[in-house]
Protein backbone atom coordinates (compact mmCIF):
# COMPACT_ATOMS: atom_id res chain seq x y z
CA UNK A 1 0.00 0.00 0.00
CA UNK A 2 1.33 3.41 -0.92
CA UNK A 3 2.32 5.48 2.09
CA UNK A 4 0.08 8.52 2.54
CA UNK A 5 0.99 11.72 4.32
CA UNK A 6 -1.09 13.22 7.10
CA UNK A 7 -2.17 16.02 4.78
CA UNK A 8 -3.63 13.47 2.38
CA UNK A 9 -5.82 11.85 5.01
CA UNK A 10 -9.32 13.25 4.97
CA UNK A 11 -10.40 13.93 8.52
CA UNK A 12 -13.94 15.14 8.99
CA UNK A 13 -13.91 17.81 11.66
CA UNK A 14 -17.44 19.12 11.59
CA UNK A 15 -18.65 22.46 10.30
CA UNK A 16 -18.47 24.62 13.40
CA UNK A 17 -14.76 25.38 13.85
CA UNK A 18 -13.44 28.06 16.19
CA UNK A 19 -14.94 31.05 14.36
CA UNK A 20 -11.50 32.69 14.57
CA UNK A 21 -10.94 33.09 10.82
CA UNK A 22 -13.13 36.15 10.19
CA UNK A 23 -12.01 38.02 13.37
CA UNK A 24 -8.41 37.39 12.32
CA UNK A 25 -9.06 38.83 8.87
CA UNK A 26 -10.58 41.90 10.56
CA UNK A 27 -7.44 42.18 12.73
CA UNK A 28 -5.37 42.14 9.54
CA UNK A 29 -7.66 44.80 8.02
CA UNK A 30 -7.11 47.06 11.05
CA UNK A 31 -3.36 46.48 10.89
CA UNK A 32 -3.20 47.31 7.18
CA UNK A 33 -5.15 50.54 7.74
CA UNK A 34 -2.75 51.41 10.57
CA UNK A 35 0.26 50.74 8.33
CA UNK A 36 -1.11 53.11 5.69
CA UNK A 37 -2.14 55.87 8.08
CA UNK A 38 0.60 55.75 10.73
CA UNK A 39 3.32 53.58 9.21
CA UNK A 40 2.98 51.19 12.17
CA UNK A 41 3.90 47.58 11.41
CA UNK A 42 2.12 44.59 12.98
CA UNK A 43 3.09 40.94 13.41
CA UNK A 44 0.42 38.33 14.22
CA UNK A 45 1.55 34.93 15.49
CA UNK A 46 -0.73 32.35 13.85
CA UNK A 47 0.43 29.68 16.29
CA UNK A 48 -0.94 31.60 19.29
CA UNK A 49 -4.52 31.44 18.05
CA UNK A 50 -6.63 28.30 18.50
CA UNK A 51 -7.57 27.11 15.02
CA UNK A 52 -9.41 23.97 13.99
CA UNK A 53 -7.83 21.73 11.36
CA UNK A 54 -8.37 23.43 8.03
CA UNK A 55 -8.80 26.94 9.43
CA UNK A 56 -5.14 27.92 8.94
CA UNK A 57 -5.51 26.87 5.30
CA UNK A 58 -8.74 28.88 5.14
CA UNK A 59 -6.87 32.00 6.29
CA UNK A 60 -4.16 31.43 3.67
CA UNK A 61 -6.81 30.91 1.02
CA UNK A 62 -8.60 34.09 2.06
CA UNK A 63 -5.36 36.08 1.84
CA UNK A 64 -4.47 34.66 -1.58
CA UNK A 65 -1.21 34.95 -3.50
CA UNK A 66 0.36 38.30 -4.35
CA UNK A 67 3.19 39.43 -6.58
CA UNK A 68 6.20 38.92 -4.36
CA UNK A 69 7.89 35.85 -2.86
CA UNK A 70 11.25 35.58 -1.14
CA UNK A 71 13.23 32.84 0.60
CA UNK A 72 15.70 33.36 3.43
CA UNK A 73 18.27 30.67 4.21
CA UNK A 74 19.30 31.05 7.85
CA UNK A 75 18.91 28.18 10.36
CA UNK A 76 16.73 26.49 7.75
CA UNK A 77 14.59 28.21 5.13
CA UNK A 78 12.05 30.96 5.74
CA UNK A 79 9.34 31.68 3.25
CA UNK A 80 7.99 35.23 2.70
CA UNK A 81 4.89 35.50 0.51
CA UNK A 82 3.04 38.72 -0.08
CA UNK A 83 -0.68 38.08 -0.11
CA UNK A 84 -3.13 39.43 -2.67
CA UNK A 85 -3.43 42.39 -0.28
CA UNK A 86 -0.16 44.33 -0.71
CA UNK A 87 1.54 44.93 2.63
CA UNK A 88 0.14 41.71 4.12
CA UNK A 89 2.81 39.00 4.17
CA UNK A 90 2.63 35.38 5.23
CA UNK A 91 5.94 34.46 6.88
CA UNK A 92 6.76 30.81 7.60
CA UNK A 93 9.98 29.78 9.36
CA UNK A 94 11.24 26.22 8.92
CA UNK A 95 14.09 24.36 10.62
CA UNK A 96 16.78 22.38 8.83
CA UNK A 97 14.37 19.44 8.51
CA UNK A 98 11.77 21.63 6.80
CA UNK A 99 9.52 21.46 9.87
CA UNK A 100 7.61 24.66 10.64
CA UNK A 101 8.94 26.48 13.75
CA UNK A 102 6.89 29.66 13.38
CA UNK A 103 4.11 31.07 11.23
CA UNK A 104 3.25 34.75 11.19
CA UNK A 105 1.19 37.29 9.32
CA UNK A 106 3.38 40.39 9.00
CA UNK A 107 1.73 43.62 7.97
CA UNK A 108 4.61 45.75 6.72
CA UNK A 109 6.03 47.37 3.60
CA UNK A 110 8.91 44.89 3.78
CA UNK A 111 9.08 42.08 6.38
CA UNK A 112 11.75 42.96 8.93
CA UNK A 113 13.91 39.88 8.30
CA UNK A 114 14.17 40.65 4.59
CA UNK A 115 16.10 43.83 5.36
CA UNK A 116 19.84 43.50 5.65
CA UNK A 117 20.84 43.65 9.31
CA UNK A 118 23.43 46.25 10.47
CA UNK A 119 25.46 43.58 12.33
CA UNK A 120 25.66 41.41 9.20
CA UNK A 121 26.49 44.43 7.05
CA UNK A 122 29.31 45.42 9.43
CA UNK A 123 30.69 41.86 9.35
CA UNK A 124 30.40 41.86 5.55
CA UNK A 125 32.26 45.17 5.33
CA UNK A 126 35.09 43.77 7.46
CA UNK A 127 35.28 40.69 5.24
CA UNK A 128 35.35 42.80 2.07
CA UNK A 129 38.01 45.12 3.49
CA UNK A 130 40.14 42.16 4.54
CA UNK A 131 39.78 40.59 1.10
CA UNK A 132 40.76 43.80 -0.70
CA UNK A 133 43.71 44.26 1.65
CA UNK A 134 44.82 40.74 0.89
CA UNK A 135 44.28 41.19 -2.87
CA UNK A 136 46.10 44.54 -2.75
CA UNK A 137 48.98 42.97 -0.86
CA UNK A 138 49.16 40.15 -3.39
CA UNK A 139 49.14 42.61 -6.31
CA UNK A 140 51.97 44.55 -4.71
CA UNK A 141 54.16 41.48 -4.61
Amino acid sequence: MAESTLAELEIEVGDIGTHNVIPLLHEIRHALAQLLEEGKETVIDLRSIPLAPGEEAAIEQALGEGEMQAVLSALGPSDFRESSYPGVWLVTHYNHDDKIVGKFVEVAIVPSLLRSQPEDMAAGLRRLEARLMEDGGNQGE
Binding site: I16, A74, L75, I100, V101, F104, Q117
Partner: protein, 364 residues
Amino acid sequence: MKNDQTLGEILRDQGISRRGFLKFCAATASLLALPPGSVPAIAAALENARRPSVIWLSFQECTGCTESLTRSDAASIEDLIFNTISLDYHHTLQAASGTGAEDARQSAMKENWGKYLLVVDGSIPTGNPGYSTIAGISNVDMLMEVAAGAAAIVAVGSCASFGGIPHASPNPTGAVSVSDLISDKPVINVPGCPPIPVVIAGVLTQFLTFGIPELDELHRPMAFYGKSIHDRCYRRPFYDRGLFAETFDDEGARKGWCLYKLGCKGPTTYNACATTKWNEGTSFPIQSGHPCLGCSQPDFWDAGGFYQALSIPTGDISRAAVYGVGAGIAAGALMGALNRGRKSHAVRVHEKVTIDDLEKEHEK
Protein backbone atom coordinates in the same frame (compact mmCIF):
# COMPACT_ATOMS: atom_id res chain seq x y z
CA MET B 1 33.64 26.07 23.98
CA LYS B 2 34.25 28.39 26.92
CA ASN B 3 31.63 28.73 29.64
CA ASP B 4 32.17 32.49 29.93
CA GLN B 5 31.13 33.20 26.35
CA THR B 6 27.82 34.94 25.78
CA LEU B 7 25.19 33.26 23.66
CA GLY B 8 25.62 35.98 21.05
CA GLU B 9 29.34 35.20 20.83
CA ILE B 10 28.71 31.46 20.61
CA LEU B 11 26.17 31.88 17.81
CA ARG B 12 28.46 34.21 15.86
CA ASP B 13 31.29 31.68 16.30
CA GLN B 14 28.97 29.08 14.76
CA GLY B 15 28.50 31.35 11.73
CA ILE B 16 24.88 32.21 12.51
CA SER B 17 23.91 35.54 10.97
CA ARG B 18 21.93 38.27 12.69
CA ARG B 19 18.98 37.33 10.51
CA GLY B 20 19.28 33.72 11.70
CA PHE B 21 19.49 34.91 15.31
CA LEU B 22 16.41 37.13 14.90
CA LYS B 23 14.55 34.24 13.28
CA PHE B 24 15.45 32.14 16.33
CA CYS B 25 14.18 34.95 18.59
CA ALA B 26 10.90 35.19 16.61
CA ALA B 27 10.36 31.43 16.98
CA THR B 28 11.28 31.71 20.68
CA ALA B 29 8.72 34.50 21.20
CA SER B 30 6.09 32.32 19.55
CA LEU B 31 7.14 29.36 21.69
CA LEU B 32 6.99 31.40 24.91
CA ALA B 33 3.58 32.79 23.90
CA LEU B 34 5.05 36.29 23.99
CA PRO B 35 3.86 38.94 21.56
CA PRO B 36 5.95 39.22 18.36
CA GLY B 37 6.83 42.77 19.47
CA SER B 38 8.98 41.28 22.24
CA VAL B 39 11.56 39.94 19.76
CA PRO B 40 14.02 42.88 20.26
CA ALA B 41 13.90 42.37 24.07
CA ILE B 42 14.51 38.62 23.66
CA ALA B 43 17.37 39.31 21.24
CA ALA B 44 19.01 41.77 23.64
CA ALA B 45 18.70 39.39 26.60
CA LEU B 46 19.90 36.29 24.72
CA GLU B 47 22.75 38.20 23.13
CA ASN B 48 24.28 38.80 26.56
CA ALA B 49 23.26 35.57 28.33
CA ARG B 50 26.14 33.44 29.59
CA ARG B 51 26.49 29.79 28.68
CA PRO B 52 25.24 27.92 31.73
CA SER B 53 26.49 24.67 33.15
CA VAL B 54 23.67 22.14 33.43
CA ILE B 55 23.66 19.01 35.59
CA TRP B 56 20.83 16.61 34.72
CA LEU B 57 19.89 13.98 37.31
CA SER B 58 17.57 11.08 36.47
CA PHE B 59 15.92 9.27 39.38
CA GLN B 60 12.79 7.04 39.39
CA GLU B 61 11.80 7.58 35.78
CA CYS B 62 11.21 5.76 32.51
CA THR B 63 13.57 7.96 30.41
CA GLY B 64 10.49 9.16 28.54
CA CYS B 65 11.35 12.80 29.30
CA THR B 66 14.85 12.46 27.84
CA GLU B 67 13.38 10.50 24.91
CA SER B 68 10.87 13.30 24.33
CA LEU B 69 13.66 15.82 24.17
CA THR B 70 16.17 13.85 22.12
CA ARG B 71 13.55 12.49 19.70
CA SER B 72 12.37 15.96 18.85
CA ASP B 73 13.43 15.43 15.25
CA ALA B 74 16.48 17.66 15.57
CA ALA B 75 14.49 20.85 15.38
CA SER B 76 16.96 23.66 15.06
CA ILE B 77 15.51 25.68 17.91
CA GLU B 78 16.06 22.91 20.44
CA ASP B 79 19.39 22.11 18.86
CA LEU B 80 20.49 25.66 19.14
CA ILE B 81 19.65 25.99 22.78
CA PHE B 82 21.20 22.66 23.69
CA ASN B 83 24.31 23.52 21.75
CA THR B 84 24.65 26.65 23.82
CA ILE B 85 24.33 25.07 27.25
CA SER B 86 27.10 23.02 28.80
CA LEU B 87 25.42 19.72 29.65
CA ASP B 88 28.08 18.54 32.06
CA TYR B 89 26.29 15.49 33.48
CA HIS B 90 23.45 13.36 32.16
CA HIS B 91 24.08 9.72 32.93
CA THR B 92 21.86 8.44 30.09
CA LEU B 93 23.40 10.60 27.38
CA GLN B 94 27.03 11.00 28.45
CA ALA B 95 29.75 8.75 27.12
CA ALA B 96 31.56 8.53 30.45
CA SER B 97 30.45 5.97 33.01
CA GLY B 98 31.34 4.91 36.54
CA THR B 99 33.86 7.07 38.36
CA GLY B 100 34.52 9.11 35.19
CA ALA B 101 30.89 10.21 35.09
CA GLU B 102 30.78 11.00 38.79
CA ASP B 103 34.04 12.96 38.50
CA ALA B 104 32.44 15.05 35.73
CA ARG B 105 29.54 15.85 38.06
CA GLN B 106 31.82 16.77 40.93
CA SER B 107 34.05 19.01 38.82
CA ALA B 108 31.05 20.75 37.17
CA MET B 109 29.65 21.45 40.64
CA LYS B 110 32.98 22.72 41.97
CA GLU B 111 33.70 24.99 38.99
CA ASN B 112 30.18 26.44 38.80
CA TRP B 113 29.10 26.37 42.46
CA GLY B 114 26.06 28.59 43.00
CA LYS B 115 25.61 29.18 39.24
CA TYR B 116 24.73 25.90 37.58
CA LEU B 117 21.25 24.82 36.57
CA LEU B 118 20.05 21.50 37.97
CA VAL B 119 17.56 19.56 35.85
CA VAL B 120 15.84 16.58 37.44
CA ASP B 121 13.61 13.96 35.88
CA GLY B 122 12.03 11.19 37.93
CA SER B 123 10.64 11.10 41.43
CA ILE B 124 12.71 10.51 44.53
CA PRO B 125 12.05 7.45 46.72
CA THR B 126 12.03 8.24 50.41
CA GLY B 127 11.44 4.66 51.55
CA ASN B 128 14.35 2.26 51.42
CA PRO B 129 17.34 4.27 50.03
CA GLY B 130 18.26 1.19 47.99
CA TYR B 131 15.16 1.50 45.82
CA SER B 132 17.09 3.77 43.46
CA THR B 133 20.78 4.60 43.56
CA ILE B 134 23.38 6.04 41.20
CA ALA B 135 27.01 5.07 41.79
CA GLY B 136 25.90 3.73 45.16
CA ILE B 137 24.45 7.08 46.20
CA SER B 138 20.78 7.24 47.08
CA ASN B 139 18.60 9.58 45.01
CA VAL B 140 17.80 11.72 48.04
CA ASP B 141 21.47 12.18 48.94
CA MET B 142 22.47 13.01 45.36
CA LEU B 143 19.62 15.49 44.95
CA MET B 144 20.44 17.28 48.20
CA GLU B 145 24.17 17.40 47.39
CA VAL B 146 23.72 18.81 43.87
CA ALA B 147 20.81 21.12 44.76
CA ALA B 148 22.95 22.84 47.41
CA GLY B 149 25.09 24.53 44.75
CA ALA B 150 22.41 25.10 42.09
CA ALA B 151 21.15 28.53 41.05
CA ALA B 152 17.79 26.99 40.24
CA ILE B 153 16.20 23.59 39.69
CA VAL B 154 14.05 22.54 36.76
CA ALA B 155 11.88 19.49 37.52
CA VAL B 156 11.21 17.93 34.11
CA GLY B 157 8.21 15.63 33.81
CA SER B 158 5.33 14.81 36.12
CA CYS B 159 7.45 12.45 38.26
CA ALA B 160 9.97 15.13 39.24
CA SER B 161 7.25 17.80 39.44
CA PHE B 162 4.57 15.93 41.40
CA GLY B 163 5.77 12.37 42.04
CA GLY B 164 4.09 11.03 38.90
CA ILE B 165 3.42 7.36 38.37
CA PRO B 166 5.84 6.14 41.09
CA HIS B 167 3.83 8.29 43.51
CA ALA B 168 0.55 6.69 42.40
CA SER B 169 -1.34 4.81 45.06
CA PRO B 170 -0.11 2.78 46.92
CA ASN B 171 3.25 4.51 46.30
CA PRO B 172 5.43 1.54 47.33
CA THR B 173 8.71 3.47 47.28
CA GLY B 174 7.52 6.56 49.12
CA ALA B 175 8.11 8.58 45.93
CA VAL B 176 8.04 12.36 46.26
CA SER B 177 8.65 15.32 43.97
CA VAL B 178 11.66 17.66 43.96
CA SER B 179 9.71 20.46 45.61
CA ASP B 180 8.64 18.08 48.39
CA LEU B 181 12.32 17.95 49.40
CA ILE B 182 13.75 21.30 48.32
CA SER B 183 12.37 24.51 49.71
CA ASP B 184 15.38 26.84 49.72
CA LYS B 185 15.93 27.03 45.94
CA PRO B 186 13.71 28.16 43.08
CA VAL B 187 12.07 25.07 41.59
CA ILE B 188 10.48 25.32 38.13
CA ASN B 189 8.11 22.44 37.40
CA VAL B 190 7.76 21.33 33.77
CA PRO B 191 5.20 18.53 34.12
CA GLY B 192 3.83 16.23 31.45
CA CYS B 193 4.21 12.53 30.80
CA PRO B 194 6.36 13.43 29.00
CA PRO B 195 6.50 17.22 28.62
CA ILE B 196 6.32 18.64 25.08
CA PRO B 197 9.94 18.73 23.79
CA VAL B 198 9.86 22.36 22.76
CA VAL B 199 8.40 23.27 26.15
CA ILE B 200 11.47 21.78 27.88
CA ALA B 201 13.72 23.75 25.52
CA GLY B 202 11.48 26.80 25.89
CA VAL B 203 11.74 26.81 29.68
CA LEU B 204 15.53 26.62 29.46
CA THR B 205 15.48 29.46 26.91
CA GLN B 206 13.20 31.48 29.13
CA PHE B 207 15.55 30.92 32.09
CA LEU B 208 18.54 32.04 30.01
CA THR B 209 16.66 35.05 28.67
CA PHE B 210 14.74 36.44 31.60
CA GLY B 211 15.77 34.32 34.61
CA ILE B 212 13.11 32.57 36.69
CA PRO B 213 9.88 32.80 34.68
CA GLU B 214 6.49 33.73 36.07
CA LEU B 215 5.10 30.61 37.75
CA ASP B 216 1.63 29.44 38.71
CA GLU B 217 0.71 28.07 42.15
CA LEU B 218 2.18 24.70 41.15
CA HIS B 219 5.49 26.33 40.10
CA ARG B 220 4.81 25.82 36.40
CA PRO B 221 5.83 28.53 33.90
CA MET B 222 2.75 30.58 33.04
CA ALA B 223 3.90 30.86 29.41
CA PHE B 224 3.20 27.17 28.86
CA TYR B 225 0.85 26.23 31.69
CA GLY B 226 -1.14 29.43 32.09
CA LYS B 227 -4.17 28.25 30.11
CA SER B 228 -6.14 25.05 30.32
CA ILE B 229 -6.23 22.63 27.41
CA HIS B 230 -9.97 23.29 27.31
CA ASP B 231 -9.54 27.07 27.01
CA ARG B 232 -7.30 26.69 23.95
CA CYS B 233 -8.95 23.63 22.42
CA TYR B 234 -10.28 23.98 18.89
CA ARG B 235 -13.15 21.66 19.92
CA ARG B 236 -14.27 24.12 22.60
CA PRO B 237 -17.10 25.57 20.43
CA PHE B 238 -18.65 22.07 20.38
CA TYR B 239 -18.53 21.97 24.17
CA ASP B 240 -20.15 25.39 24.37
CA ARG B 241 -22.95 24.17 22.11
CA GLY B 242 -23.43 20.93 24.00
CA LEU B 243 -22.21 18.73 21.14
CA PHE B 244 -20.37 15.72 22.59
CA ALA B 245 -19.01 12.42 21.30
CA GLU B 246 -20.64 9.74 23.45
CA THR B 247 -18.56 6.83 22.14
CA PHE B 248 -15.41 6.55 20.04
CA ASP B 249 -17.30 5.60 16.91
CA ASP B 250 -20.54 7.56 16.98
CA GLU B 251 -21.57 10.51 14.83
CA GLY B 252 -20.10 12.98 17.34
CA ALA B 253 -16.70 11.26 17.25
CA ARG B 254 -16.68 11.28 13.44
CA LYS B 255 -17.62 14.96 13.35
CA GLY B 256 -14.90 15.93 15.81
CA TRP B 257 -17.19 17.01 18.63
CA CYS B 258 -16.07 17.61 22.22
CA LEU B 259 -14.60 14.58 24.06
CA TYR B 260 -15.65 15.74 27.53
CA LYS B 261 -18.07 12.86 28.05
CA LEU B 262 -15.39 10.36 27.00
CA GLY B 263 -13.27 11.45 29.94
CA CYS B 264 -11.35 14.41 28.55
CA LYS B 265 -9.45 16.12 31.39
CA GLY B 266 -8.87 19.25 29.27
CA PRO B 267 -10.96 21.49 31.55
CA THR B 268 -8.74 20.76 34.57
CA THR B 269 -5.41 20.36 32.78
CA TYR B 270 -2.94 23.16 32.21
CA ASN B 271 -0.47 22.65 29.38
CA ALA B 272 0.44 23.95 25.93
CA CYS B 273 -0.66 20.88 23.92
CA ALA B 274 -3.61 22.61 22.24
CA THR B 275 -1.48 25.38 20.71
CA THR B 276 2.13 24.12 20.63
CA LYS B 277 0.99 20.58 19.79
CA TRP B 278 3.29 17.56 19.28
CA ASN B 279 5.51 16.23 16.53
CA GLU B 280 6.49 19.63 15.20
CA GLY B 281 3.01 21.04 15.60
CA THR B 282 1.27 18.20 13.77
CA SER B 283 -1.41 17.31 16.28
CA PHE B 284 -2.24 16.61 19.92
CA PRO B 285 -4.28 13.85 21.57
CA ILE B 286 -7.65 15.59 21.29
CA GLN B 287 -7.05 16.40 17.61
CA SER B 288 -6.31 12.70 17.13
CA GLY B 289 -9.65 11.82 18.69
CA HIS B 290 -8.51 10.83 22.19
CA PRO B 291 -9.42 12.58 25.43
CA CYS B 292 -6.71 14.45 27.33
CA LEU B 293 -5.44 12.27 30.21
CA GLY B 294 -4.44 15.27 32.30
CA CYS B 295 -0.82 14.13 32.53
CA SER B 296 0.56 17.53 33.54
CA GLN B 297 -1.61 17.69 36.66
CA PRO B 298 -0.67 16.30 40.09
CA ASP B 299 -1.82 12.72 40.75
CA PHE B 300 -3.28 12.31 37.26
CA TRP B 301 -2.84 8.56 37.57
CA ASP B 302 -5.15 8.43 40.59
CA ALA B 303 -7.73 10.89 39.29
CA GLY B 304 -10.34 8.29 38.39
CA GLY B 305 -10.72 6.48 35.09
CA PHE B 306 -9.20 8.03 31.99
CA TYR B 307 -12.51 7.48 30.19
CA GLN B 308 -14.77 8.74 32.97
CA ALA B 309 -16.14 12.23 32.51
CA LEU B 310 -14.83 14.76 35.03
CA SER B 311 -18.39 15.09 36.28
CA ILE B 312 -18.36 11.48 37.49
CA PRO B 313 -16.72 11.63 40.91
CA THR B 314 -14.19 9.06 41.98
CA GLY B 315 -14.27 7.66 45.48
CA ASP B 316 -11.05 9.48 46.23
CA ILE B 317 -11.08 13.09 45.07
CA SER B 318 -7.49 13.81 44.15
CA ARG B 319 -5.47 16.99 44.04
CA ALA B 320 -5.90 16.98 40.27
CA ALA B 321 -9.57 17.66 40.64
CA VAL B 322 -9.07 20.16 43.43
CA TYR B 323 -6.68 22.25 41.34
CA GLY B 324 -8.95 22.28 38.32
CA VAL B 325 -10.64 25.50 37.34
CA GLY B 326 -12.35 26.53 34.14
CA ALA B 327 -15.61 26.46 32.40
CA GLY B 328 -15.86 22.70 32.50
CA ILE B 329 -15.84 22.74 36.27
CA ALA B 330 -19.14 24.60 36.43
CA ALA B 331 -20.72 22.07 34.13
CA GLY B 332 -18.93 19.32 36.02
CA ALA B 333 -20.34 20.52 39.33
CA LEU B 334 -23.88 20.41 37.95
CA MET B 335 -23.46 16.97 36.45
CA GLY B 336 -21.62 15.89 39.60
CA ALA B 337 -24.64 16.81 41.68
CA LEU B 338 -26.80 14.71 39.42
CA ASN B 339 -24.39 11.82 39.87
CA ARG B 340 -24.05 11.87 43.64
CA GLY B 341 -26.26 8.83 43.96
CA ARG B 342 -24.08 7.01 41.45
CA LYS B 343 -20.96 8.00 43.39
CA SER B 344 -22.14 6.67 46.72
CA HIS B 345 -23.10 3.45 45.01
CA ALA B 346 -19.69 3.25 43.33
CA VAL B 347 -17.91 3.82 46.65
CA ARG B 348 -20.06 1.12 48.29
CA VAL B 349 -19.34 -1.52 45.69
CA HIS B 350 -15.74 -0.60 44.94
CA GLU B 351 -13.22 -3.19 46.05
CA LYS B 352 -9.55 -2.37 46.06
CA VAL B 353 -7.20 -4.96 44.60
CA THR B 354 -4.02 -5.47 46.56
CA ILE B 355 -0.76 -7.06 45.46
CA ASP B 356 -1.65 -10.01 47.72
CA ASP B 357 -4.89 -10.43 45.80
CA LEU B 358 -3.01 -10.43 42.50
CA GLU B 359 -0.53 -12.99 43.78
CA LYS B 360 -3.39 -15.22 44.98
CA GLU B 361 -5.00 -14.83 41.55
CA HIS B 362 -1.73 -15.85 39.93
CA GLU B 363 -1.42 -18.91 42.19
CA LYS B 364 -4.91 -20.16 41.18
